[in-house]
Amino acid sequence: MKVLVTVKRVVDPQVKVRVKSDGSGVETANIKMAMNPFCEIAVEQAVRMKEAGIVTEIVAVSIGVPQCQETLRTAMAMGADRGVLVETAVDVQPLGVAKVLKAIVEKESPRLVIMGKQGVDDDNNQSGQMLAALLNWPQGAFISAIAINGDHADCVREVDAGLEKLTLKLPAVVTADLRLNEPRYVTLPNIMKAKKKPLEIVKPEALGVDVTPRLKILKVREPPKRGAGVKVADVKELVAKLKNEAKVI
């Protein structure tokens, strides 16, 4: 079974971003970038399924600037077999991402697409569900377990009330939540090996997809700051403050 995984290049989640002074966005120049953590989990899942003999080939796809090649090389160092970069300078929004991926899926014919549940930059949480809709495939969003049983995938989803069990008819799109697995660290030999793996570069226009953003970003600003707090010496003082000052208990 062939699997497609998607990887997004984002600002390293450990970095606290700064809003640009002109309010046009957040500062991303000269800031450490990394693979979106949920995409790492998606890649890891595909690699584990290949190691278990369920998956025969893993194709990693990224959409964005030429530097996304590095993100694809990381995915290949983790175990993806080849990479496809859909290169564009446009900051592609989820609907555009889903349309690009649909075109790739139609070319590659995977049985399963594994994506991260959300990008930790835009926090949209849309692309996987949208891709499933455009393909008219079932979706397993926010999964914490997956087992392939013949022409079905049995999934466990993380939902607000707890866990939910779902059976999806293959082909399907699933999106990874945090507890699906713990991604491996890439090793130097694997990084070297990944450099020799094939990486194809295509443009959205060549796929016949219009990625022009639909949502206009009018401005980006800092959230209101919380006032400075006070340190309390002990539990007694804390209780007194909560009762008499904050009046919340």
Partner: protein, 309 residues
Amino acid sequence: MAVLVIAEHDGKQLKPGTANAVTAAGKMGSDIAVLVAGHQCAAAAEAAARLAGVKKILLCEAPHYEGLLAENLAALIEPLAAGYTHLVAPATGFGKNLMPRVAALLDVQQISDISAVESPDTFVRPIYAGNALATVQSGDRIKVVTVRATGFDAAGESAAAAPIEKISPATDAGLSKFNGQEVQKSDRPELTAARVIVSGGRGVGSAENFRLIEALADKLGAAVGASRAAVDSGFKPNEFQVGQTGKIVAPELYIAVGISGAIQHLAGMKDSKVIVAINKDAEAPIFAVANYWLVEDLFKAVPELTKEL
């Protein structure tokens, strides 16, 4: 402006975020209908009919809506959408799963997790774990929006119930099957609706030690939460996670115990009215957002606090 709110419910009752989504919908237009779709959910439709500002309820019942599968619900909503300018749902696990599927079927770019409505086509939404707020404008003919509950008050009750209209179901897409939920029963309030929350982090150390957190929570009539680290370590199941990719909460009082304060955790609780942090590490980043902080070993401070209250 005609707005259709998609209700999240368990058949009998509405889930907390729905009433907040109705309030947000009221800022987009005054003609508000609520869709209650599910398997045997007439009671939930009656609850929705009593929400202030709602003009009409659309009730759709069919066995294949059990588990509120996105594939089947999206197929039901897509043809209904033509009659509306806005489709709105709470930005909960339910809305996050369903609405992008609806938006893509309509060829619309969804606006996720809004915290304010500036005008019927312009919305504010947190990005980068709440470290920035983006104001975005949609040019799509139908706006598909999910609503962050903490940004809007819950709609109250109206004296007169809105009329309930039954609509026929769409066919079963047959793509997916719901095999049940594993839900832990608890007498404590629901995280997203609680007035007070006591959350534990990695510092709590084990699932057993969470009893300390729970004892404090019970004394305060509070909900129990957990940081991602505590959930990843197996101290608490996933539904307790507060953070960027877990639940977003804004209670009157949030007590963070043994939580260092990673960016992704702060994203889920920094809009709480009063934040208390208890941590033995005097350098813990959580103190930067706390109104009151106590540098002390939680195993000493928490039992003492439970006793003092």
